[in-house]
Chain length 158, copies 2
DNA sequence: TAGCTGACTTTTGGTTTCCTAAGTCAGCCG
DNA sequence: CGGCTGACTTAGGAAACCAAAAGTCAGCTA
């Protein structure tokens, strides 16, 4: 671990996946927009209203999310309505759901209000509640206290 | 789902666990400081240098993290050195590790550079790689596409 | 006791972020 | 064709955030 600590100064943030993820989703409105997208929100003004941000901010963030490939913009039309654009999660965006779920879980546990969780996440197939968990390749559930950080291939000198 | 969508306007962000979690950790430097804490960084200037933020910002964020109960500040002393303060993850802070792990995993998958992941997270007991996963109470692994969001107790009218 | 070091705080000034309010534009509806 | 609505964009200003440089303070160490 000391080795790792000593080397870590060299990469700092440039070669850190967390830093790169945070670069994309590391602000309030982006995470909340992704939450909305995962709940099925599709329309521009629903995003803005439900997230509680102004239209200019919603427009800018959504545009950025599309540019980053987390959302896809596609035309759709409801009967009797004109064509509109909807925003839908791409696979890249969907794969942030574990992170989002872990955050919600933490919020439920540590920052909940009296009313209890406002949403329940279920497995479509069986209806059971879904949780974010850490698990190792040997199949163990791993409590946060039992994880160990080691240098990876990107850190070791070539 | 339509029911849920209709009701969702009423709670917006006030009663959302994700929003509350984001309130605490929803910015770049806070997440990165927690990453450092999980790597074992303890001292003030190591935090600042490794995260790549200035000292005033580090001081403010660390203070906020202590106030929010994610970090604990405690005196410690290395042999031959004077007493110093270290910052250590509390249980509340530790339980954010699944979220942090999920973010890293996403970054590794979608925003990695050529060198590969810079850290490897292992299960202390067995050395196997640790991943963040979604799982339901029935024991199934749940891919992001198979989750279903329903209103929870905090959303339903009393 | 004078110096040094770690851990801050203060000050200054620039950049980013956000909101409000108002304007634009396209297409269905009457 | 004229109004309306959804989806934005523009303009203007307040607030938050940030880095750099300098100052403070406490307690070893010489």
């Amino acid at each position: 671990m000391t080795d790792l600590l000593a080397q870590r100064d060299s990469w700092q943030n440039s070669n850190c996946s967390i830093a790169r993820a945070v670069e994309v989703v590391g602000n309030r409105s982006t995470l909340l927009l992704l939450r909305e997208a995962s709940f099925g929100t599709r329309r521009f003004d629903d995003f803005a209203r439900r997230v509680g941000i102004s239209e200019p901010v919603a427009a800018a963030r959504l545009k950025q999310l599309v540019a980053d490939g987390l959302l896809e913009r596609r035309p759709y039309r409801e009967p009797g309505q004109r064509t509109r654009d909807e925003y839908q999660l791409t696979r890249k965006g969907q794969e942030l759901l574990p992170a989002l779920t872990a955050l919600r879980q933490w919020g439920d546990a540590w920052a909940a209000d009296d009313a209890g969780p406002s949403v329940r996440v279920e497995h479509q197939d069986c209806g059971a509640a879904v949780h974010a968990r850490l698990r190792c390749d040997a199949g163990h559930d791993v409590p946060p206290a039992e994880i160990d950080v080691r240098p990876g291939p990107g850190l070791l000198p070539a």
